[in-house]
């Protein structure tokens, strides 16, 4: 009895989870394997399209003979690279039609024309012409003829399915693609974006955790950058920072703080001298990181605020009795309480920033020293149209992320052991 109950429970569970599991498998897990597969192949964007046999039907009436008609099919292989094998053709005609010139490759039965064209090499083109007349000599309506479309079929190799593999993509990614520079840019972007958003998150959470008028409103406002669509925010920032007529530059010029506009998103380096030391700051990258921090500190804020509100009030009261200063309270009570949240946040944000594509793409498109790995996936895959390369870059991203997670968890594990 119990056994059958457990069995039905199992069955029910599988039925309930199956649709979700199948969908996630098809759209998320399968593509990951497909990605590995593609990354070992030389595939370009144009190879993806499966070659198709195509026919364009042109109807010409023959003068003086209204009961006869000439039909021209412009046949071609849609692919410039691959052949199509065993092309078959089929088109239907009205019942009273009689064929005048039957091509040896074709057959006309039951008012349908079927042809076997054999193999078409790449770029193949042919003008195929048939002439029809009506049995009863009635007039031919061109419109109805035109509305019937011929059907073509053929077999071709799918370049994605053959088993020619190569290591070329990975060699290119690692040795020819300014890999070190890419990696460094991605690392700066990810690391400073993550740390910045956490620092601002701590500051704002500490702020909102105190009582003041309009606190709930403040909490919603702080989350605005996080919930608004990227596209809108990125373009607004672009307009604000624009060197020609952007608001920020106009303001700075107006207050005579700068003399010439600064192209914050289009200039790779800026020379800064502090205390007599000259150094180069990666300007566009810094701006993009600022945007990143601006957009994602709300998440850190929210997590840390939730944690802060759970800190027992007695801790602070006891500290007050001991005469602790506000800074002592912050460093000795608040910070230790939120380290766990911060370490989780650091991991989540690090992973997501590492993969962030939209923000950089919309702000700079990867120009002026802001090309990160995800941007490179897009550029290789779609701008240079080398799908294989794009895939290889994304595999590199996954491997790096797995390595990061592995070390991060080991580090965390060690610290937990020590405590």
């Amino acid at each position: 009895m119990n056994d059958t109950l457990a069995n039905t429970e199992k069955k029910t569970a599988y039925i309930l989870t199956l649709p979700a599991v199948l969908l996630v498998f098809a759209i998320i897990l399968f593509p990951i394997f497909a990605n590995v597969w593609i990354s070992f192949k030389e595939v370009e964007l144009k190879d993806i399209r499966i070659p198709e046999p195509r026919a364009k039907k042109i109807i010409k009436s023959i003068s003086d003979e209204p009961s006869k008609i000439k039909i021209l099919y412009k046949l071609r292989n849609s692919s410039l690279l691959q052949e199509i094998r065993k092309v078959s053709f089929k088109d239907n005609f009205p019942k009273n039609f009689k064929i005048e010139n039957l091509d040896p490759r074709c057959d006309y039965k039951k008012s349908s024309l079927k042809c076997e064209f054999g193999n078409w090499p790449a770029k193949y083109k042919e003008n195929f012409q048939v002439i029809f007349s009506t049995n009863d000599g009635s007039k031919i309506d061109k419109k109805t003829l035109k509305s019937v479309k011929p059907k073509l079929d053929g077999k071709s190799d799918n370049i994605l399915l053959n088993t020619n593999f190569t290591l070329k993509n990975f060699k290119k990614v690692l040795f020819e693609n300014e890999f070190v520079d890419l990696l460094l840019t991605t690392f700066y972007y990810t690391f400073f974006g993550t740390v910045g958003s956490i620092v601002f998150g701590i500051l704002t959470a500490q702020m909102v955790n105190q009582k003041f008028y309009g606190r709930t409103f403040m909490r919603s406002v702080l989350l605005f950058p996080y919930v608004a669509p990227v596209v809108a925010l990125a373009y607004t920032w672009e307009l604000l920072l624009d060197p020609n007529s952007g608001t920020l530059n106009s303001l700075l010029l107006n207050y005579q703080i700068i003399e010439t506009p600064i192209n914050l998103l289009g200039q790779k380096y800026i020379e800064i001298s502090i205390l007599g030391f000259d150094f180069k700051l990666r300007l566009a990258l810094t701006t993009v990181i600022m945007f990143e921090i601006w957009r994602y500190f709300p998440l850190a804020f929210l997590f840390i605020l939730a944690r802060l509100q759970a800190v027992p009030k007695e801790l602070y009261e006891a500290a007050d009795v001991d005469g602790a200063s506000p800074f002592q309270k912050f460093f000795k009570i608040t910070l230790p309480q939120i380290t766990a949240v911060i370490s989780i946040l650091f991991m989540i944000r690090f992973i997501w920033n590492f993969n962030k594509f939209e923000d950089v793409f919309l702000l700079t498109g990867g120009a002026s020293g802001t090309r990160t790995l995800p941007i490179n996936v897009y550029q290789q895959g779609f701008a240079i149209s080398d799908i294989g390369m794009g895939s290889a870059v994304s595999i590199v991203i996954v491997v790096l992320l797995l390595m990061f997670m592995f070390f991060y968890f080991r580090l965390l594990g060690k610290r937990v052991d020590e405590n």
Binding site: A6, E9, K10, A13, Y14, L16, T17, P19, A20, I27, I28, L29, F30, P31, I48, R49, N158, T204, M207, Q210, F212, M218, S220, L222, L223, F224, V227, A228, P229, V231, A232, L233, Y235, T236, W237, S245, T247, S250, L251, N254, Y255, L299, A306, S325, P326, I348, I351, W352, N355, F357, E358, L362, P374, V377, Y378, G381, I387, S391, S394, V398
Partner: protein, 397 residues
């Protein structure tokens, strides 16, 4: 000790005053006033004196008179430095300095003598400063987005700092950018596509996620722990890794440029969060209710529709709002999969608009307002649900 604290107090409070006045000046400049300098040095000295005078006068004058007198002096002084400014600017300066003087009114020499008083002051002013600073930094871009959409190209070329809106003009003129994007750029159609895609994603996601979350929360089966941990791992998985294989597969299946294709991808990417958030809530529903239902011979379908769903309306609606927001804001997949303007979503359409350098910026901003408003509206209106859900499930971003 007292002198040191007094100086530190005056310094910090003066910085705060200057910050307030500077923000006001920036906003006034953006209304087209010609303010060419913050006069920081002079205002600094002046603010410093006010702070000191405040401490010195202490309780000799009633607080309200003190505030009004200080504020008036400040307004006159500022008005003397930058002349020919409209009345509303000066009223603003008056209100700001009045606010400032009331804020500092709680400090006096006795407080300054206390232990840690400098730190307390620093903390107080940092909080005040932080609230204003973050409000400004966050709201400013949104404000500029809105205001730019009401301007014209010529007006912005004449004075790039004049964002004042002329409410006297014809409504049709005022909302011209909005009329243009709806009439010549087919934004109505994009809104429709975005709505269909987002609402469709919500419906399909819930259809798939509710049963799965129920099974994970309640039933025992082989592979349950594996399933619930893999949900989280999949959730962390980068979308950029999926783009190329999905692009190739979708091209070969002819799913690119179709709403169906987007629906499939959006559903699959939001499912893990939805299941994770829902199963957490389902676990909190008392089991006894279902046991009674099993005695009544209700099938699992009956249990889900008659017990679980009615009891978890708040959780389901917060998941629905989230999924809607994710789908509405989504950009990466719509960039990859859509290249035919007939099937664009709003985000993709705005990106396409910006690709044409000729597109005037006010149209771009009007489009941005159109895509942002629904999300912000939903967020502010349902904030309570969403914030608790955000910390529980955390939306991908």
């Amino acid at each position: 000790m007292r002198t040191k604290n007094t100086i530190i107090f005056s310094l910090i409070s003066t910085f705060f005053l200057i910050f307030l006045i500077s923000i006001w000046k920036i906003l006034a400049t953006l209304q087209g006033l010609s303010i060419n300098s913050f006069n920081i040095e002079i205002l600094f000295a002046f603010g410093f004196l006010i702070s000191l005078a405040h401490l010195g006068l202490n309780d000799k004058i009633k607080q309200i008179y003190k505030s009004i007198v200080f504020s008036l002096i400040f307004v006159l002084f500022d008005g003397y430095l930058i002349q020919k400014l409209p009345l509303w600017y000066n009223i603003g300066v008056f209100l700001i300095s009045y606010f400032f003087t009331t804020k500092i009114s709680k400090y006096n020499f006795t407080i300054l003598k206390e232990e840690h008083s400098t730190q307390v002051i620093l903390f107080d002013f940092l909080t005040l400063f932080g609230i204003l600073f973050f409000s400004f930094v966050i709201l400013f871009p949104f404000y500029m987005m809105l205001v730019t959409s009401f301007k014209t190209q010529i007006a912005l070329l004449v004075n790039p700092l004049d964002f004042s809106i002329n409410f006297g003009q014809d409504l049709k003129e005022l909302f011209k950018s909005y009329f243009v994007i709806f009439e010549s750029y087919k934004f109505g159609k994009y809104i429709l596509t975005s709505t269909i895609v987002s609402v469709g994603t919500v419906i399909i996601t819930l259809l798939f996620a509710i049963p799965a979350a129920y099974a994970v929360a309640r039933l025992n089966f082989f592979g349950k722990t594996f399933l619930s941990t893999s949900i989280l791992i999949i959730y962390m998985f980068p979308a950029i890794v999926l783009v190329i294989p999905l692009y190739t597969i979708f091209s070969q299946l002819g799913l690119r440029n179709s709403i169906e294709g987007l629906l499939i991808v959006y559903t699959a990417t939001t499912l893990p969060v939805a299941i994770y958030m829902l199963q957490g809530y389902f676990k909190s529903i008392p089991k006894e209710l279902e046991e009674a239902a099993i005695l009544d011979k209700l099938s699992w379908f009956g249990i889900i529709t008659k017990i679980i769903i009615p009891l978890s309306i708040p959780a389901i609606s917060s998941v629905a709002l989230y999924v809607f927001m994710i789908a509405w804001n989504e950009f990466l997949f719509s960039l990859m999969f859509l290249d035919n303007p007939n099937s664009f979503t709003l985000s993709r359409a705005i990106q396409y608009l910006s690709g044409d350098a000729e597109t005037p910026r006010q149209y771009l901003m009007a489009g941005s307002v159109v895509v942002t408003l629904p999300v912000l509206f939903i967020f502010v209106y349902f904030e309570k649900y969403l914030v608790s859900g955000l910390t529980a499930g955390s939306v991908k971003g």
